[in-house]
């Protein structure tokens, strides 16, 4: 995403006077400029067309960050992640989701036996898929400053192909936290929980970002 900047500076045009918006060189990204956009979508009034902007060319895309993680939060998340067995925690998190929130089983019809706690916990497809989901969290941890970009493709997949209600992302995030609490009771302080809570919420939001 590019961001439009305006600058309260005097006009650069010789002899002064406003620079029409339709001449603006402000870059919107993907090769488009504000001037082109305004020429394509004519404003309703001349007054609007004459709105003055000092053209500032944005040459680099700014990161799309809605969530800011502090240095301490990133360090806390990374320190616990280093100890996580992705297969065990991922598999158990997904299994708990399927057991505690049974409606989620509808997304996994092809997984075979999901009829009891022991069947779900022992189901090899649940373990494989759980590991896949938790590996994507590992990817999130490497890109905590651009979760929306990191999860853009997965967001489209979950919306367009899998039709998953976004509330389920939050539920799975909470399952991951509970599994981490059972495995790391000493390390899972309130501050550690808060950092991971922020991460799972941010991942859930990033996964929802492309929904329409």
């Amino acid at each position: 995403m590019s961001i439009l900047l305006t600058h309260p500076c005097p006009s650069p045009t010789p002899g002064g006077g406003p620079l029409p918006l339709t001449n603006s060189l402000i870059l919107l990204g993907e090769g488009r400029t504000l001037g082109q956009e305004m020429r394509n979508k004519r404003p309703h009034s001349e007054e609007a067309a004459q709105t003055c902007f000092w053209p500032i060319r944005i040459t680099s895309k700014l990161p799309d960050t809605m969530v800011h993680f502090t240095t301490e939060e990133k360090a806390a998340v990374a320190s616990l992640w280093a100890k996580v067995n992705v297969e065990v925690v991922g598999g158990e998190s997904l299994a708990r989701l399927l057991i505690v929130c049974p409606w989620t089983q509808r997304f996994f019809d092809s997984f075979g036996n999901l009829y009891s706690e022991s069947a779900i916990m022992g189901n090899p497809k649940v373990k494989v898929y759980g590991r896949k989901v938790l590996n994507s969290f590992g990817n999130a941890i490497k890109h905590m400053d651009d979760l929306k970009g990191t999860f853009a493709d997965l967001s489209e997949l979950h919306c367009d192909k899998l039709h998953v209600d976004p509330e389920n992302f939050r539920l799975l995030g909470n399952m991951i936290l509970i599994v981490l609490a059972t495995h790391f009771s000493k390390e899972f302080t309130p501050q550690m929980q808060a950092a991971w809570q922020k991460l799972t919420n941010a991942v859930a939001n990033a996964l929802t970002h492309k929904y329409h």
Binding site: V100, I178, A194
Partner: protein
């Protein structure tokens, strides 16, 4: 609640014994740290870690949950006075109860990992959802 869920929650509560207040207090502290906006309901208390006032409120929550565990057949009736208090006097957003219950689950999972099987987890979620329904109006 199904008999198996009731039995599971009752058994766990017996195991927690007189320590329920310790865990509900920790759940409150976790809620304040993970979800800071929840502190809005407790600005009259000292919210620093280890606060005796938070512990006192934690004990009240524990007593209410223990009452609920022993009256699973009539939660709305049993908790009606608390519903009145939290809805009309304190005007607590029902979302807060969900956050507190999640932090209580994290707390219990931490302290009793061996008891916190997925089935136990599911039974506790059902119990806490019943408590929330009795305590707070549903949205919409």
């Amino acid at each position: 609640m199904a008999p198996a869920d009731r039995a599971a929650v009752l058994a766990l509560w017996r195991k927690l014994g007189t320590n329920v207040g310790i865990y509900t207090t920790e759940a409150l502290e976790r809620t304040f740290v993970a979800f800071p906006s929840s502190k809005t309901y407790f600005l009259h208390l000292n919210l620093s870690p280890g606060s005796a006032q938070v512990a006192a409120h934690g004990q009240k929550v524990a007593d209410a949950l223990s009452l609920a565990v022993n009256h699973l057949d009539d939660l709305p009736g049993t908790l009606s006075y608390l519903r009145e208090l939290h809805t009309h006097k304190l005007r607590v957003d029902p979302v807060f109860f969900k956050l507190l219950c999640h932090c209580l689950l994290v707390t219990l999972a931490r302290h009793y990992p061996g008891d916190f099987s997925p089935n136990m987890h599911a039974s506790l979620v059902k119990f806490l959802n019943h408590v929330i329904s009795a305590l707070a109006p549903s949205s919409g």
